[in-house]
């Protein structure tokens, strides 16, 4: 009887230790964090949510791992203006993490979904490699969406653009914003085409996933 009591006591003690660890170090990925990510568990687990969708669910926070002196590792494109001082890089590519191979080029940074690497000038980029935006204030990279925005587009202009062969991704009739679907390899060219036509065209830096509160 005493033996059974001690065994039970041992397992309960393990649970208490886990509780204590979780409280002392919320950033540590304990099993509890893995299993209760959707809501804020006060003082025990971070509120990072399971954000699911096209990619498998993951509880890993969207934390970027930086390589030191990253500012000197790429060239900015001075001809393209992105939102709030962000920079379009000329020689970096973004690719889903599982598709990256070291021979593609030097790894510069990575986040939850993507690896950012310096493209080799002697190799063609494989399909699906997206242009990369750099945020100097946060020292962070994000992929450029292959959907470009055209602002102040009326219905006539919309039809004209679509009849020219461009593919509509979405149209917000009230705000008069036309979203054009391109591809990873064409997006900068399409951007330039519309810019040359004098349209208000914008590249979209892909947002970090939203977090359930």
């Amino acid at each position: 009887m005493k033996k059974y009591f001690l065994i039970v006591l041992f397992f309960v003690f393990l649970i208490m230790i886990n509780l204590w660890i979780a409280k002392e170090n919320p950033s540590e990925k304990t099993a509890e964090l893995l299993l209760t990510p959707l809501m804020r568990i006060a003082q025990k687990a971070p509120s990072d949510s399971i954000i699911t969708g096209r990619t498998p669910a993951s509880i890993v926070a969207a934390k970027t791992h930086h390589v030191p002196h990253v500012e000197n590792s790429f060239s900015p494109d001075p001809n393209v203006t992105l939102d709030r001082g962000q920079i379009l890089t000329l020689d970096l590519g973004a690719i889903p993490k599982n598709l990256y191979k070291p021979e593609m080029g030097e790894l510069i940074s990575e986040d939850k979904q993507y690896k950012y690497y310096k493209k080799s000038p002697t190799r063609d980029s494989p399909e699906g490699v997206h242009p990369v935006a750099y945020n100097p204030s946060k020292n962070r990279f994000r992929p450029i969406s292959s959907v470009v925005h055209l602002k102040n587009v009326n219905e006539g202009q919309r039809q004209e653009i679509l009849s020219a062969g461009f593919e509509e991704y979405y149209f917000d009739q009230k705000l008069k914003i036309l979203f054009i679907q391109t591809s990873a390899t064409e997006v900068l060219d399409v951007y330039q085409v519309f810019k040359d036509k004098g349209l208000s065209v914008h590249l979209e830096i892909l947002a970090l996933p939203l977090k359930a509160h």
């Binding site: 006591l9 309960v12 003690f13 649970i15 208490m16 509780l19 919320p26 950033s27 304990t30 099993a31 509890e32 209760t36 959707l38 809501m39 804020r40 568990i41 006060a42 003082q43 025990k44 971070p46 509120s47 990072d48 949510s49 399971i50 954000i51 699911t52 969708g53 096209r54 669910a57 926070a61 969207a62 934390k63 939102d83 709030r84 001082g85 973004a94 979904q113 204030s137 946060k138 450029i144 969406s145 292959s146 959907v147 925005h149 991704y169 979405y170 917000d172 009230k174 705000l175 591809s183 990873a184 979209e204 830096i205 947002a207 970090l208 996933p209 939203l210 977090k211 359930a212 509160h213």
Partner: protein
């Protein structure tokens, strides 16, 4: 030796909780319940009373009796949203349409399915936007959040099963929206789409996952303005969003964000006056331990704590014991998990939903009750009623919270939060609670008799250029001293006399670590609102460039007069001086209604002399001299310029009350040769506009 007994005590405690949770279901009949219509008893099954909601008794947010809600500790009786009389009077949100933009919803849930708006759902998982609408929003295993949120709003009432929503007869639609984005898609297009549609209320229990200031998406703010002015046949949809769960009571790290005490103003999506931002309260009637504070919060509502030690929220879960919230915490189960509790044998409910994610749907539900009571309410009416009827809570600790930063960010004598402040219009406001905890009964009663005319919405933004009239320009030498309680103050004068509904500030600093900064805004009446706290969680390297902040603290004050921004640097370790380099002020509000018969607009201007000075070869900077004998009564002048084809070049651009002005018209300062008509009108302190516009033909000849 004592330590060895702790685990045993924990074990016993857990067992006790389980026993306590096994209440007879029939005991859940509460005020507002209709009489049971049938009782089904089975020796192997719990008692089911058809006509009531078995889990109502543990729903402390609806009726707080001091119950534990299947956790260890009880709440405090009375600390709820005061709803039982509203339900009893049959205000239940009937027919009000609510879009729940979240992780998707278990559409077959027996406590939700009767309130579903069939074929209205959306699923943004599809890469082709034409597939979004009408798609099945059923969540995957890890996406129980949306089902829980929906249950808090609109779980069916008095149906003999489970829980009860705040608006148990409101209709819901599920948008499966929270997800990872692929670079082949547009997160902005999805964002705009889920703000649109035939809905009265949009519930957003989500937020940014970034540590630092997020990048403002102008089209998102434009879409909100469009939504609150055109949807619901022009009365405006109501957008409700959770404040966030970032607050920590001690210096710590969460989600990789160091020293994350959090603030709503870090997330640009929470800086729009066209949303209702909701903070969370626990069952003791205090700010929930995690609830992100900020001047952007409008009201607060129950959100609960962890559900194990202290009550969380009892609500719907994805059905079954193999998925959903009720199975997600193996190491620290609550008495309600795993289908081991008689009240939750099928795992269709959870008692561990919490967060401001839970507080927002409670407010959405209350708004549904208000809209059912009075469908003529506009978006601004709803906000106004919520503010006027909310209960200020936690008053005892007023103004006593000291700064929790510690170390280099522990500015002596600097209080971390101002707590409750009563503004010059007599409105109490708190960065923890907004105007207080939502009060369903008071809000619905006010909705029923509502007659306030808020007048036309106005803001100090040039309609032509979308730029604010109040811009400090580039500031030089406005240095922020380190570790200094006073910091720096910079001022500008508003020549608009609106009744304030919200105020936004856009600021830029070269400070390398804005998380060390507190940002205050001081109104003409001398009231201070804390827009950012020291150690607010902004990433160490994230600079503030045109960062937008919002405050509701000045609600109903007058906007005319001197506004000041104050920046305090809480660090004693910086070696480089930093400066405020620019700030802008945007005032949202309306004009004070002038009683019929007492209008006295200023007299018309009698003279206007243009002195047009070309600046560069393609632009001119207009310089006018105004002759206005009644200038003393004028608050400001407004200018409109049209070309010879009557195209508007500047649409009532606002200028200060100077007899002469030289400001280049923002956004429209490139003129071609030709003849223009310039009109000037004057506006007085009551925002009355001169009835006669002074017009002048003006010929431009660019060299």
């Amino acid at each position: 030796m004592k330590m060895y007994w702790l685990p045993l005590a924990f074990f016993i405690l857990q067992s006790c909780v389980k026993d306590e949770g096994q209440l007879p279901v029939a005991a859940s009949l509460a005020p507002g319940d209709v009489a049971p219509t049938d009782v089904v008893e089975d020796s192997d099954a719990p008692v089911i009373v058809v006509g009531t909601d078995p889990l109502f008794a543990e729903s402390w947010h609806l009726l707080n009796t001091g119950q534990t809600s299947y956790s260890t500790n009880p709440g405090t009786a009375g600390e709820d949203v005061n709803i039982e009389e509203v339900h009893a009077l049959l205000h239940r949100g009937t027919g009000v349409r609510i879009a729940v933009s979240d992780t998707g919803v278990d559409t077959t849930h027996p406590d939700l399915d009767d309130n579903e708006i069939a074929d209205s759902h959306r699923n943004y998982i599809f890469s082709n936007s034409s597939d979004w609408h009408g798609a099945d929003p059923f969540p995957s295993d890890g996406e129980a959040h949306g089902t829980a949120v929906t249950g808090l709003i609109a779980a069916e009432g008095w149906n003999g099963v489970g829980s009860r929503g705040v608006a148990p007869e409101a209709l819901w639609s599920a948008f499966r929206y929270i997800q990872d984005y692929s670079p082949g898609t547009s997160s902005i297009a999805m964002q705009l789409d889920q703000m649109e549609g035939d809905f009265d209320i949009f519930n957003y229990s989500y937020g940014s996952s970034e540590c630092g200031f997020t990048t403002l998406v102008p089209s998102s703010h434009a879409k909100l303005l469009e939504g609150v002015t055109t949807l619901r046949s022009g009365k405006g949809a109501i957008y409700v969003q959770s404040a966030g769960n970032g607050f920590l009571a001690s210096n710590n790290t969460i989600l990789g964000c160091t020293g994350y005490y959090a603030n709503t103003n870090i997330d640009a999506e929470l800086t729009s006056p066209h949303k209702i931002i909701v903070g969370a309260i626990n069952a003791l009637g205090l700010k929930a331990s995690y609830s992100t504070p900020g001047s952007g919060i409008w009201v607060s509502a129950p959100g609960g704590e962890d559900g194990t030690t202290d009550p969380a929220m009892v609500t719907t879960d994805i059905q079954g014991c193999s998925q959903g919230l009720s199975i997600r915490n193996f190491l620290f189960p609550t008495a309600f998990d795993f289908g081991s509790h008689a009240d939750n044998l099928l795992c269709n409910y959870t008692n561990r939903m919490n967060g401001t994610s839970s507080a927002a749907p409670v407010v959405s539900g209350v708004i549904a009750l208000m809209l059912e009571a009075n469908s003529d309410l506009t978006f601004r009416d709803v906000k106004h009623i919520l503010a006027m009827t909310a209960d200020p809570i936690d008053l005892i600790a007023s103004n006593t919270l000291t700064h929790p930063g510690g170390g280099a960010l522990d500015l002596l004598t600097h209080t971390y939060d101002l707590r409750w402040t009563t503004n010059n219009a007599g409105r109490p406001f708190s960065n923890f609670y907004g105007f207080g905890r939502v009060n369903a009964e008071e809000a619905v009663n006010e909705a029923l008799i509502y007659s306030t005319d808020l007048g036309l919405y106005a803001r100090t933004i040039d309609p032509n250029s979308d730029l604010t009239y109040y811009d400090s320009g580039t500031l030089v030498g406005v240095t922020i001293p380190n570790n200094d309680f006073t910091g720096i103050v910079n001022s500008m004068t508003s020549f608009h006399n609106y009744i304030i509904e919200a105020v936004q500030v856009e600021f830029t600093t070269d400070h390398p670590k804005p998380r060390e900064l507190a940002v205050h805004l001081i109104s003409p009446a001398g009231i201070t609102s804390r827009l950012l706290n020291i150690n607010s969680g902004v990433d160490g390297n994230a600079i503030a460039t045109g960062t937008l902040l919002m405050t509701n603290a000045f609600y109903n004050e007058n906007s005319e007069g001197t506004w000041s921004i104050q920046l305090i640097d809480g660090s004693n370790t910086d070696v480089t001086a930093a400066s405020l380099t620019n700030w802008k002020l945007i005032i949202h509000g309306h004009k004070e209604p002038i009683p019929v018969g007492s209008e006295s607009p200023p007299t018309a201007i009698t003279g206007l002399a243009p002195d047009v000075t070309p600046s560069i070869s393609t632009t001119v900077s207009p310089l006018f001299t105004i002759t206005d004998p009644a200038n003393a009564s004028v608050l400001r002048y407004e200018v409109s310029i049209v070309d010879s084809s009557n195209n508007v070049v500047a649409d009532w651009y606002s200028i200060q009350n100077s007899m002469t002005f030289t400001t280049t018209l923002q956004g429209t300062n490139v003129f071609a040769d030709g003849t223009y008509t310039v009109k000037v009108r004057s506006v007085d302190i009551d925002e009355e506009v001169s009835t006669t516009e002074f017009s002048l033909a003006w010929t431009v000849d660019i060299p």
